[in-house]
Each structure stands twice: as structure tokens, then as C-alpha cells.
């Protein structure tokens, strides 16, 4: 989230699209209720189903799964056509005026540079015209035919209300009503918030869905303001933290990157990370990358990381592919190329697409290690549970270790909520039986591996032998010690660059925040964005002062919000070019003539003059991007792409399947269905009574929602002869599920041009372990393909068939 849960109360309009917050985030959704009750805010829901959020909305419109980009580009087109643009914001805080190269263009659903053989773009043309002064050229009148604004206007002109209706199945009058409601928020004193979740991410073009809304929010001037923002409602309690700390194939904590093979040495790696400003006087904060990177390397390898050995650069793995993400790893596993696999609190047998392939892949491992508080399906994948897990146990040679770990009630530490608050919590219970903390388990594994290398030698032991491990109890590092490492500490006295006689932080002390990180090896710090969480003032994540000056919703002294305890990102954009709040009643920051004052920690330097320094400090331009150059694989603007399995051909290019640059493995391509074989669109969703595959272990929740079902429309039930509550079989090209039919008015067939599209909904909470009845999940059906930029699987739009299955017993 750019903002926080408590800030939602400040909004005038909530748009829930790509999520279902009332159902999946009920207590956060209460802030929508606050805004409605106290400000008269309105709520719009756009979703394939009439969801629980829709049931309390002021206005609802249906949309066909996987067509969100067409809807969003349609909205942007309508805003431009109807002059619903916050012009001062667009002119000054976005790249609307920057000039783009003449050879960039779009045709037949594709941008310039497409190579169908490589399934990739040559992105050279997707860039600005750079002047002799080294800066991007700009036309602040926005009239230049090649400026971003002119190109955007042309790009979205295709997305008329008629095209939106044809592609999305959204009735034109409903689309237009929503456009009018949203258009009101282009006024400087009206704000809209976007609340989205996996309904936008789980698509082969999920990142572009989100970009589409972010662009709309920029055009309306709603980023950086109270009650505005792009608010990703993260699904799990610390999915934000684990991503911040870089537990992904290609990440280093704080959104730094694992090097690739094309960066064989430190100098090459750093040369592409200079981040020189593209406009005069801009901050371009990533210029500090070397400080963050060197401090990370010192946190990892201490004295073994020196200037002479390029901070132990060789210790880092170098990638030969963009990522070894879960889809690639299970593809490799299924091909017999992975021997060992660890699952720490994660249940891939139910969480990853194409369950048959997941089972086959796990069966080819030598050793599977599962650490979990609960008995998961993954740990039991080799057990035969009849129709619910029909495997040949004896033929599965995988050895499985199931290790009991603790849960939240039994450990200390911080979780990061969706609004970036690092909230410390305390243990209240003794772990059951022999269950142990994950920190103990990881330390034990590491220390044993290290001992083997010490005793036996082996291949490249250096990064293991030299890993920093200076904990009071090496067998179980404490949460306090680990949190302090993430904050960072001074290895030598850290001095003020402006006055070297002044020591800012003495050797051995905790750093104040990341402004004290150095690139000369005199500081260590594992995760720069968290720095400030545990400095010499103590554990700021444990702060519990819940006062809220002037009721802004910021709660500035409650725990710690990264970065620097900032509560709203891009907050400088809440004020105009003179530094006056766009809306005085919702002041966040204000320029007092010499410095920024207000309710939040400003994201630009406190004395940076408003007319000089742009608010988007992480960008080289100093402004936000409506056109994103070559930074995304599938285009500098979002363009409509169908799901890989779609009931319709792409309206711009009938030959184009799915996202033209998404990675597809050969065996998976063979398992994509056509709408002739599988005419029904399907989507997956959550229920408020359950949390993923955890709460089916809880008798209370198992009683509240005991049994798997699929949700279908009355029209489809009538067409197929399906009884209300009767058994059905649903199958895709990859598998089948059996379920009871929930026949509702919440789903309606959608008229898309001359095609009537039926949609069914499949909830995701059942398996074969725990207290609830045995059932299936949508992943028995879903295709094995991910988003082109981040490889998030396409769980939200796929094709199935359905038939009655009366009289068949399902245990």
C-alpha cells in the first residue's frame, strides 16, 4: 500500500476492483465503512461476481475475468475525452511532457520491436529523446505530438465505451456511470483510493493491470495524498516482509538485485545502477545503491567482504535466467533436475497451478523437507486419499521429513502489515511437543552444513564458512539480534560528510537510519529500507502510542513504518508547486518557506524547494511515469491481452494468445484449452470464514464453511440441468474436481459482443488434511503460466467445462 488501512477513512471514493476486501480483509474494510459513514464516501465494485464487497457498494458493475486492462484504459480515455484530469499534477508530477523516440509505436495489439520467435520485445524504441545535456527532452505544454501525453491519448483512444462493453461484458451504461463517479475525483479536493488484491495480480498480465490503475490515479492527482493511493491488500500477514527482505530468486533485501551472468564483476554490476537523474536537480535516490549494497554485503560476510575482493561479490550466485521462480523450479523438478526441496510454512500442493504436475514433480525429488506448524497436504502428497489425492504411494520414492515449527503465538518478532508497518509481537505460549522456532531449525541446519565443510572440505565453502554468525547463542539467534542486523550498525565511527570532525554514530552503535549507510565498508545493514526500526532509541517496532494528532489517520508513533517511519509514500505530491496542500482540509505536508512541515515524514529532503525537486524521488525523472520506458517486458503502456485460456479472441489481434511475452514451457502450452473444447470461463476466490488452507484445521472455521462448492449462475444451471446443491463435475484440460453446486444470482452470463460468456467461481480452501470435509482446490484445474514480469500464476482466468454428476459419492 502507498497509504495505510487507517488512512482509508480520508477518501471520497473507494474503487474495489481486483479484490474483495469486505470478504478477505474484513477488519481493514471497516475503514471503508468509516469513510462512507463520516465523509459520505462512495464505494464502487467491479468484479465478475456480485461479491460481499459489492453487496455494500453504492455501485456495482460486472466484468469478464481477465479483461481489466480494457476497462482501465477505457476509463483513462473517458477522463481525457471529458477533461477530467488534474492538469497541474499531470504536468508537474508525471512524465506527460517528456518526448518519446519517433520509432516507438503500437499496432495489432503489439508494441514496436516484437520478436515472435523469442517471445520478447526489442525495447530500444520505448524510450525518451535524450538531449545533448544528457536530460530527457520535455514539452510542458503537452502539445508536442511525440510527448507521453499525446501518445497516451492516442493509445487509449481505441478503448471506447463500446469496446469496453464488447471486451469486458460490462453494460455501457454501467461503465459510463462509474466513469462519471471517478471523474469527479480529478478535482484537487476530491480523492479516490484503489483497493486491489490477487484479483489483479493472478493474471498473465497482472503487473499491467495494476499499472493501468496507477496511471488513472496519477491522471486524477490521487497519489501521495490522504485518502488516495494504490493500495495492494497483501494476502498474508508477512508476505510484505518476506518480499522486503528479498526472499525471492532474484532479490537482495530492500529491493536490490541478485546479479546476472552478464554482470561478472562488481564494476559491471554497479555500472548499470548509476541512476543519474534524467531531469535537472532531481533526487534519483537509487544513486545511493552502492551504500545499500556494500552494507548488505558487510551484514552477510563481515570482515571477509573487503574493498579488495569487491565486497565478496563472487559469493553471490549469478543468474542465467531472469528468475528461478516457483513455476520454473517445478518445471525443472518435473524433469528430474531438482533433488532437494524445502517448504517452510508453504503448501505448494494446493498453492501452485496444475496440481497433477505439482504431484508429479514432488514425486521426482530425493528429499522433501516440510517445516510447518500444521500437517500440510504437501508433506502428505504421497498418501492416497481416494479421489482427493489419488496417488500410487508405493511408487513414490521421495523421502519426506515433516518438522514441527511454531506459530505466531509462540514466537517474538515483527510482521509487516499491508501498510508497511513493522509491528513487533510477543510470544504467549510454549510450543507444543517438540515443535521448535524456525530460527532454531535454520541455525541447526546451517551450523551442521558448516561443520561438514570444516571437517571434509568441499566445493566453494567460502560463503558458508565466512557467513557472519556472531550471535550470543549460535544455536538459536534471538529475534532482537536479527532485527538489529537488519537496521544496521556502525563498524567504524560514522562521520558527517559536511563536517568530518562530527561523529554521527560511534563504532559499534546502531545506525540512526539509512542516511548513515556508507559504501566504504564502515557500516553494515541487511535491509536498508527497514533502517530506523531498531536504532539507539530502541525497538521502534514495539512502540504502542496510539495517539493520532488531528485525527489524520497517520498514527505516527504506532510501531514503525518503512521507510523512515513514513506513513504515506510520495507525500510531497500532496501539495502543489508552491508547496500548498491541494486540499487544505486534508493537509499532509506544507512548505513553510524554508522547510516541509506537517503530519508525515516528507519523502524529499526536508529543505528541498517545492518548485525545484520532484516528488517521485526514486525515479530518475523526479516525476511518475505514465510511460514506463523499457522497464516492463510487455509494454510501456498497458494494452489489452486475453488470458491464455479465453472464451474470446483478442479484439486487436485474433492470432495473439495470452500475453505475447509471457514465458510458456512446451509441455504446458500443450495443455492450454480452446473455448471450443472448454467454453466456460472460471475464476478462483476466497471466503471470509477461511484463510487459505490453514483454517480448515480449525474446528470453528471448518464448521462455518464445511464443504467445497463451486458457484454457478441460475442460467448455467438451467442450461446444464444442474440442481441447486446437486453434485457437479468441473474439468479443465489438466484435471477435474467434484463439488456441490451453489446456484446463485451473484453470477450472471455476460454478453461480450455476439458471444454469451458463462463464468463460474471456485473457492480455494479445501484439501485432504485438517478438520473440514475433504475437497478440492482450483489448482487442480488452473494453467501453468505466469505473469510476464513477475511469474505470478494465472489463477483468476481459465477455461473449464461442467456437467451434473448426480448420485456419485464423494467421501
Amino acid at each position: 500500500m502507498t497509504n495505510s488501512w487507517t488512512d482509508i477513512k480520508n477518501t471520497d471514493l473507494v474503487v474495489v476492483m481486483g479484490g474483495n476486501a469486505a470478504e478477505a480483509h474484513p477488519c481493514g474494510f471497516k475503514w471503508v465503512t468509516e469513510a462512507k459513514a463520516n465523509r459520505g464516501a462512495k464505494l464502487i465494485v467491479v468484479d465478475p461476481r456480485f461479491t460481499r464487497t459489492a453487496s455494500v457498494a453504492d455501485y456495482y458493475a460486472p466484468i469478464r475475468p481477465g479483461s481489466d486492462i480494457a476497462f482501465l484504459m477505457g476509463l483513462i480515455n473517458w477522463m481525457i475525452q471529458n477533461d477530467k484530469v488534474q492538469w497541474d499534477y499531470v504536468r508537474n508530477f508525471t512524465n506527460a511532457g517528456l518526448i518519446v523516440r519517433d520509432d516507438f509505436g503500437w499496432n495489432d495489439g503489439l508494441f514496436t520491436g516484437y520478436d515472435p520467435e523469442k517471445r520478447d520485445y526489442d525495447k530500444t524504441s520505448w524510450d525518451y529523446v535524450i538531449g545533448d545535456d544528457g536530460f530527457a527532452q520535455v514539452d510542458m505544454t503537452l502539445e508536442h505530438p511525440r510527448c507521453v501525453w499525446s501518445l497516451l491519448k492516442e493509445h487509449v483512444s481505441r478503448y471506447t465505451p463500446e469496446l469496453v462493453e464488447q471486451v469486458c461484458g460490462t453494460p455501457r451504461d454501467r461503465f459510463l456511470k462509474i466513469a462519471e463517479m471517478i471523474g469527479e475525483c480529478s478535482a484537487p479536493d476530491r480523492t479516490m483510493t484503489s483497493m486491489y488484491a490477487l484479483g489483479w495480480t493472478q493474471h498473465s498480465k497482472g503487473a499491467q493491470n495494476i499499472r493501468g490503475m496507477a496511471m488513472l490515479q496519477l491522471i486524477l492527482g490521487n497519489i501521495g495524498v490522504r485518502g488516495g493511493g494504490m493500495n495492494a491488500l497483501r494476502g498474508h500477514s508477512n508476505i510484505q516482509g518476506l518480499t522486503d527482505i528479498g526472499l525471492m530468486s532474484n532479490l537482495i533485501p530492500g529491493y536490490l538485485n541478485i546479479p546476472t551472468e552478464s554482470e561478472p564483476d562488481w564494476q559491471t554490476y554497479m555500472s548499470s545502477r548509476r541512476f543519474t537523474p534524467l531531469r535537472p536537480g532531481q533526487t534519483s535516490y537509487w544513486q545511493n545503491y552502492p551504500k545499500f549494497m556494500v552494507s548488505f554485503m558487510k551484514a552477510m560476510w563481515g570482515d571477509a567482504a573487503t574493498a579488495e575482493n569487491d565486497w565478496a561479490y563472487d559469493y553471490l550466485p549469478k543468474l542465467d535466467v531472469p528468475t528461478y521462480d516457483i513455476l520454473r523450479m517445478f518445471e525443472l523438478m518435473d524433469a528430474g533436475q531438482v533433488n532437494l526441496y524445502f517448504c517452510q510454512g508453504f503448501n505448494p500442493l494446493l498453492s501452485f497451478p496444475n496440481r497433477a504436475k505439482v504431484t508429479s514433480a514432488l514425486s521426482r525429488l530425493k528429499l522433501l523437507v516440510v517445516m510447518d506448524p500444521l500437517a500440510t497436504e504437501t508433506a502428505h502428497f504421497w498418501e492416497n486419499h481416494g479421489a482427493h489425492n489419488d496417488v500410487d504411494t508405493a511408487s513414490i520414492q521421495t523421502e519426506v521429513l515433516e518438522l514441527p515449527s511454531t506459530c505466531f503465538a509462540e514466537d517474538d518478532g515483527a510482521l509487516v502489515n499491508s501498510g508497511r508497518w513493522l509491528q513487533w509481537h510477543w510470544s504467549a505460549a510454549t510450543p507444543p511437543g517438540q515443535a521448535r522456532h524456525d530460527t532454531w531449525i535454520m541455525a541447526q541446519i546451517f551450523l551442521r552444513v558448516k561443520k561438514l565443510y570444516q571437517e571434509e572440505g568441499g566445493v566453494f565453502p567460502d560463503p558458508i564458512l565466512n557467513l557472519t554468525w556472531d550471535y550470543a547463542d549460535p544455536d538459536e539467534p534471538s529475534p532482537e539480534e536479527l532485527a538489529k542486523e537488519m537496521n544496521g550498525r556502525a563498524l567504524e565511527d560514522v562521520r558527517d560528510p559536511a563536517d568530518p570532525t562530527r561523529v554521527l554514530t560511534a563504532r559499534g552503535k546502531q545506525l540512526l537510519n539509512f542516511s548513515q549507510y556508507r559504501d566504504d565498508g564502515t557500516t553494515m545493514g541487511a535491509c536498508w529500507i527497514y533502517s530506523g526500526c531498531w536504532n539507539e532509541e530502541g525497538n521502534n517496532m514495539a512502540r504502542r502510542d496510539n495517539t493520532d494528532p488531528d485525527d489524520t489517520g497517520a498514527y505516527p508513533n504506532w510501531t514503525f513504518s518503512w521507510p523512515l517511519n513514513r506513513r504515506i509514500l510520495y507525500n510531497r505530491a500532496s501539495a502543489d508547486m508552491q508547496g500548498r496542500p491541494w486540499d487544505p482540509s486534508r493537509k499532509l505536508l506544507e512548505w513553510d518557506g524554508t522547510k516541509w512541515t506537517g503530519y508525515d515524514v516528507p519523502d524529499i529532503a526536508p529543505t528541498a524547494r517545492p518548485e525545484e525537486v520532484g516528488p517521485f524521488i526514486m525515479n530518475q525523472e523526479g516525476v511518475s511515469r505514465l510511460f514506463t520506458r523499457g522497464m516492463m517486458r510487455d509494454g510501456p503502456f498497458p494494452t489489452h491481452m486475453e488470458p491464455f485460456e479465453s472464451p474470446l479472441a483478442n479484439v486487436f489481434n485474433p492470432q495473439m494468445r495470452g500475453n505475447p511475452v509471457a514465458r510458456v514451457f512446451a509441455s504446458d502450452a500443450e495443455q492450454f484449452a480452446t473455448s471450443e473444447e472448454f467454453p466456460i470461463a472460471a475464476t478462483s476466490y476466497r471466503l471470509t470464514e477461511h484463510f487459505h488452507y490453514w483454517t480448515k484445521h480449525n474446528r470453528v472455521n471448518a464448521a462455518l464453511q464445511p464443504e467445497f462448492f463451486v458457484e454457478i449462475s441460475e442460467e448455467l444451471a438451467a442450461e446444464k440441468g444442474i440442481q441447486r446443491g446437486g453434485w457437479v463435475r468441473v474439468w479443465s484440460k489438466r484435471g477435474e474436481v467434484r463439488a456441490k453446486a451453489l446456484v446463485t444470482g451473484r453470477l450472471k452470463p455476460m454478453q461480450c459482443g455476439d458471444k454469451l460468456v458463462h463464468v463460474i467461481g471456485i473457492p480455494l480452501h479445501w484439501g485432504f488434511m485438517g478438520a473440514a470435509r475433504k475437497g478440492f482446490g482450483p489448482n487442480s484445474l488452473t494453467p501453468f503460466v505466469g505473469d510476464a514480469n513477475v511469474e505470478t500464476p494465472e489463477f483468476k482466468a481459465f477455461l473449464v467445462n461442467i456437467e451434473p454428476a448426480t448420485g456419485e459419492a464423494v467421501s
Binding site: 487507517t6 527482505i245 528429499l367 515483527a414
Partner: protein, 199 residues
């Protein structure tokens, strides 16, 4: 953090005070002892209260956990009740149907309590000691890493990556667990590394 001034404890004292005063005022001084003897204390009065947050979605509602036994005092502690934390700015004491049932997640019958191993082809798990399980893991990691670590690519560039082992991290472990996991996995050269955010 245990809550220093226990609200339940305060209520108990206040309640007892009222009972004693009114009984005394009505001239039933002698009944006081008998009354005290059969009035049951509040069930939660003897529990330890601990601040925590809900482990499910990212709203991260504040909760108060009530335990029999005080971990800080070195005692065994078992969760007997969990409720919303009224002081927490986000949820202000409220919980959803999942959070309201948290106690039965902590104490679920399918909580794991002992390390177990399923041998190749076997139809069931058998118990194994932590020592044996951890030694087995370390041996498997060392042997596979030594056999399959890619030191250089075809151009002779040091790449030091290990692709035949993979690690899936969680979505609800603490930052501190995440960092220790990061250190361990990266130091070994594992690149097949992901967490729930990928899906």
C-alpha cells in the same frame, strides 16, 4: 510484552471491593468469609496477557492472548483465550470470523508435535529425533551441493549457483526468521528461492 497493568486483575480487585463493602454495610460481616469462599474468580484473572497480531491477512489486527502460565517467568504457558486488542489503531478490538477463532488454530488437533520421516515408498510416517533429522538434512545438502554447484558458466565467469536444491519460504514467519533464512539459503548459493508473494 506482558501487559503491566492487567485490566482483568484490576476488575477482580474492584469487584471484590464492592462485594465486601455492601455486605459489611448490611450487617453481614460474618458472611464475608463464606461469600469469598464460594465466589469463583474471573477465569481470565489468573492468566497472563500478551500483545500479538493476527497471523492471517495483512490487516494485521492487534490481539491479546490470554495464557495459563507466564512464559517470561519461565513457566509453561498454554493459550486459553484470544481477543481483539481495543488499543490497536487498525482493528480497534474487532476481529473477523477467522481471527475470532484463533485459539483453535493455535491448539488445533493437527498441530505437528514431533519430527517425522516418510521413507521412500513407505505408506506412513515414523517418528525421528531432531538430531537425526537435522543431520540427514545437512548431509543431503552438503552432498548435493558438492555434486551440483555450478562454479563457472561456459565462458568461465564465476556464477556459483546451485539449482538442484530449492527453498520456499513462508508468508507468516517473522522478519527475523526471514532474515536468518535469507542468510542461510543465499550463503549456500541456492537460486530456486521464493515465498508466497510469488503466487
Amino acid at each position: 510484552m506482558n501487559i503491566d497493568l492487567s485490566r482483568r486483575g484490576f476488575l477482580k480487585l474492584a469487584g471484590a471491593g464492592v462485594a465486601a463493602t455492601s455486605l459489611g454495610a448490611m450487617g453481614f460481616g460474618g458472611a464475608e468469609a463464606a461469600e469469598q469462599a464460594h465466589v469463583r474468580a474471573f477465569k481470565l484473572a489468573s492468566t497472563t496477557e500478551t500483545r500479538n497480531t493476527c497471523p492471517y491477512c495483512s490487516v494485521a489486527c492487534g490481539v491479546i492472548i490470554y495464557s495459563n502460565g507466564d512464559l517470561k517467568a519461565g513457566q509453561e504457558a498454554r493459550v486459553v483465550h484470544i481477543e481483539g486488542d481495543a488499543d490497536h489503531p487498525t482493528n480497534r478490538g474487532t476481529l473477523c470470523p477467522k481471527g475470532a477463532a484463533l485459539k483453535d488454530f493455535v491448539n488445533a488437533e493437527t498441530r505437528l508435535t514431533t519430527p517425522r520421516i516418510r521413507r521412500p515408498g513407505a505408506a506412513s510416517f515414523e517418528e525421528i529425533s531432531w538430531e537425526e533429522a537435522l543431520d540427514k538434512i545437512a548431509r543431503a545438502l552438503k552432498d548435493d551441493r558438492d555434486a551440483n554447484m555450478v562454479l563457472t558458466n561456459d565462458d568461465g565467469v564465476p556464477v556459483n549457483r546451485w539449482t538442484t536444491a530449492g527453498y520456499l519460504a513462508a508468508s507468516a514467519t517473522t522478519n527475523e526468521t526471514a532474515w536468518l533464512t535469507y542468510k542461510t539459503v543465499r550463503a549456500m548459493g541456492i537460486v530456486g528461492f521464493d515465498n508466497q508473494a510469488r503466487v
